[in-house]
Symmetry: C2
Amino acid sequence: MLRTHTCGELNKKNIGKEATLAGWVHKRRDHGELIFIDVRDAYGITQLVFDPKENRSMHEKAHELKSEYVIQVKGVVRERPAGTVNKKLPTGEIEVLAGALDILNPSLTPPFELDDALTVSDEARLKYRYIDLRRPNMQKNIRLRHKVNSFMRSFLEKNNFVEVETPILTRSTPEGARDYLVPSRLNPGKFYALPQSPQLFKQILMVSGLDRYFQIVRCFRDEDLRKDRQPEFTQLDLEMSFVTEDDIFELSEGLISGVFKAVSGIDIPTPFTRLKYAEAMERFGTDKPDGRFGMELTDLSGILKNTKFNIFKKTLEKGGTIRAINAKGYSKLSRSALDALIAKSKDYGAGGLAYLKCEKGKLSSNIDKFFEAGELDSIKEKAKAEEGDLILIVADKKAIALGVLGSLRLEIAKESNLIDENKVNLFWITDFPLFKRNDEENRWDSEHHPFTACKEEDAKLLDGKDLGRVRARSYDLVINGQEIASGSIRIHRRDLQEKIFKIIGLDKEEANRRFGFLMDAFQYGAPPHAGIAFGLDRFTTIFTKSVSIRDVIAFPKTQKAVCPMTGAPSDVDDKQLKELHIKKSK
Amino acid sequence: MLRTHTCGELNKKNIGKEATLAGWVHKRRDHGELIFIDVRDAYGITQLVFDPKENRSMHEKAHELKSEYVIQVKGVVRERPAGTVNKKLPTGEIEVLAGALDILNPSLTPPFELDDALTVSDEARLKYRYIDLRRPNMQKNIRLRHKVNSFMRSFLEKNNFVEVETPILTRSTPEGARDYLVPSRLNPGKFYALPQSPQLFKQILMVSGLDRYFQIVRCFRDEDLRKDRQPEFTQLDLEMSFVTEDDIFELSEGLISGVFKAVSGIDIPTPFTRLKYAEAMERFGTDKPDGRFGMELTDLSGILKNTKFNIFKKTLEKGGTIRAINAKGYSKLSRSALDALIAKSKDYGAGGLAYLKCEKGKLSSNIDKFFEAGELDSIKEKAKAEEGDLILIVADKKAIALGVLGSLRLEIAKESNLIDENKVNLFWITDFPLFKRNDEENRWDSEHHPFTACKEEDAKLLDGKDLGRVRARSYDLVINGQEIASGSIRIHRRDLQEKIFKIIGLDKEEANRRFGFLMDAFQYGAPPHAGIAFGLDRFTTIFTKSVSIRDVIAFPKTQKAVCPMTGAPSDVDDKQLKELHIKKSK
């Protein structure tokens, strides 16, 4: 080794001993004749002293040192003079009196300083990722991510799970998102696809009798990227045989509460709250509820069933609904701020947004005249409005009213700092619909994916018209308003699988072409099985309280799916394309 | 759970208790009225008894059961009658008297039986992988592979390594093997490549100050496949800063001997034998020597420096060499077997193969008349030939003579069962040449890869003509004649890296285009660093004493890079190609 100790290791016990350190010049301070260098490595910082009285040539050489030079220093550990002790550093009681100095590699001035507080453009951070990754927050995140993964692996191992690597070069079965394709050189005109998830392989592993599988695995989706999306992402994927929902919940709760406790010392009570999809929509206007604050949705339809206010009346007549949230303390909102809220609700899809201010003990607004006093009192009571509150009301189709208020609820909470960032709020969302209506293509799609089983009592509905009522045996884990995991009890019989494919519009031939091997496998002794997959990038983002998933991925891509450091994707030689039997099209 | 116990769990302690088991019908035996079912899951086998006197309807139902049906059975644990105890099974002292039987899923007759001894075609095994994976050997291999990975991870964690995930969608830098390419939808005409290894990223991580990185990672090479190659393969990749060769050796030896001890209970003495490339070639005719047996190569050039045998004489005059191996006990080889050996040496590239039988105390053959008695005695002595041995001699260019005899050595050892399969033989091979001559393209190539540093004392040779003499600071780990790991001390300075690129014929522009980011990074404080990568598929093959790497990979591909189960690679929709801005070429 080029060092005898790391830069985080030396302390009073080493006083008088020789040590060789290697690392980066973190800071240099010239104090009169003396030169102080803080040398940094992955483990800490140690103060070096170059004293011309001790070693003139080394002191000369120390004059050359600049930030981020890589050096090797041999010297003697000594106690820091009284008054210069740094209690914050584990090495703060000592310093190393430098004997020999070797510059292992000089450094240009870095494009930005290694200071977390500094705002650096995303482009620069990604282009000079080797500098960005030296910053304390990124170092912490990358190490924490490893600890999270490591805890998860050992937790699952203790629970008899076996990690199995599934292929990255696999078959294209576009489902929802687009596949990344890989042309085959050995099989002209054919393509591999990168897996959107190891779903089919993990089910096959259950058929093969493995009983408990997991994998921390890369997945790929060629989607238009948003802030929290990457072309490739990592999930903790697991599957179990002979289990029910409760087994998945119990295991997952042990896993998640375990990782919070082990890595961050945070106690998460179990079991997590379970919320049916329908209830989540009613109360929070979303299936990814953030329960760290209140402001839940209220149904005013009953109170206003005889309303004379024409817009509300018509909405109810057409089978719509009237929902409200109570924005606490928002009655003082300016006209322009109110207009902004109204504009936002229109962006979210509402026809309009009504409001009632609770001032001087009563509700008032530009529409209050349309309501009877009794109605206003009831609204106030239902919305639990107090002096200074603002009731926001959307009358629309149910899905729209819930969705819009759900979004406003979140917006207002963020704006008014209602969210305690130290809270960890978890929900299991269950009883999702198995299908969602695809009006554009006039058919039913799978809400989760087509391998999801339905509630046994709803199986009879599969032969009817009212497919929207069929409930799935699927479940999502939501942390702080973000979907962190998703899973289901799977179909394990060919007949049911065929029926589901038919319902979602895959004809028999197509279904066999794409998924025949899975349905074949179901005929050779497939056990009942279920699984779940945790989005580790997003989980680690929450876990590290990071702003973006890019802060927990060592080498992420931009929203254009580009890596500014390596320049991927790039031009390639025509010879390469020719060998792959493809051409660029215009 | 659909079970209270696994099928490997019940024993005498459970007698009299109720238990519910779930699993596969492994065997069924009808004994008079009684039906015995061995039910199997991932953990073991338990015997069920269906007795019509106890439960007539369940007994009826048990008549339906066939191999590989998935069942759930509730019953009472009881002691097996005297004389029917099976000491080999952990559950062999009990049986479960079946009360309720539920057929969870029937099974067609499997395409082959779950018997390791049975020869099944590779094609069938891969097509019905879910059946093949139920076979005891495959179950064992998959679980052992997990244990190997798991041990390695915790070993490295204990040694302060951090696992970091590097991108799968990255930049094409074809080096040696072909890249798998992925067309970019968002960046028309541009392509990602799947990584041949995370080499550049791990070096960047060292520049970022991570100090110790590892990753169990998928790598991709689009090569024409051989028996022990797969389009995607897994390596344990690691990199360390501020280290020398000895640190890599020590860590790797702890890792490898640790995994043998922890997972298989085998003691591997450390340190492993270190062998310089040149010596390995001289003694074994290969840089992947199998030291589980002798039969090392001998140099006869000195003894025969004045030979009158024209072919040998001319070889020596042209700067060639005369080498031999001693095939113990092979003097009785038939003429046709000898001819076969001669044909093989020609396949391996030799002009011919001479031989001398050691019979009746002297060496004889069709060429013995060309040698003087003294020469024959010296050959016999040098080759340590004893009665019944056969000396095989190749006179040729050195590389050919060594290569051919190295191959024959291995061939003969396998043929004559010289290899003790229970031995584990390890070598570090060091001091490789940095460059190899590419005569076809009249230039020098990197022997390892262009990021490898050279011996400091050889650095001055880089400016000369005799580049073949430059020795690399690279090392391979060879187990039982197979290269299991490969690594090097890396270049960490831009000037040296530029020089190497120039030597291997990458002009400055091209080098900057492809590797500019790495050379840039070297200018911002790159520490000295080194690493190694272990081929886990091949290692696990040796570790499990499997025949093929396909036996340690859950879902491998055929030699045509096809997955017979899923049908990957497959046709894709033209719409998909259009979105990716590519067309098939003819």
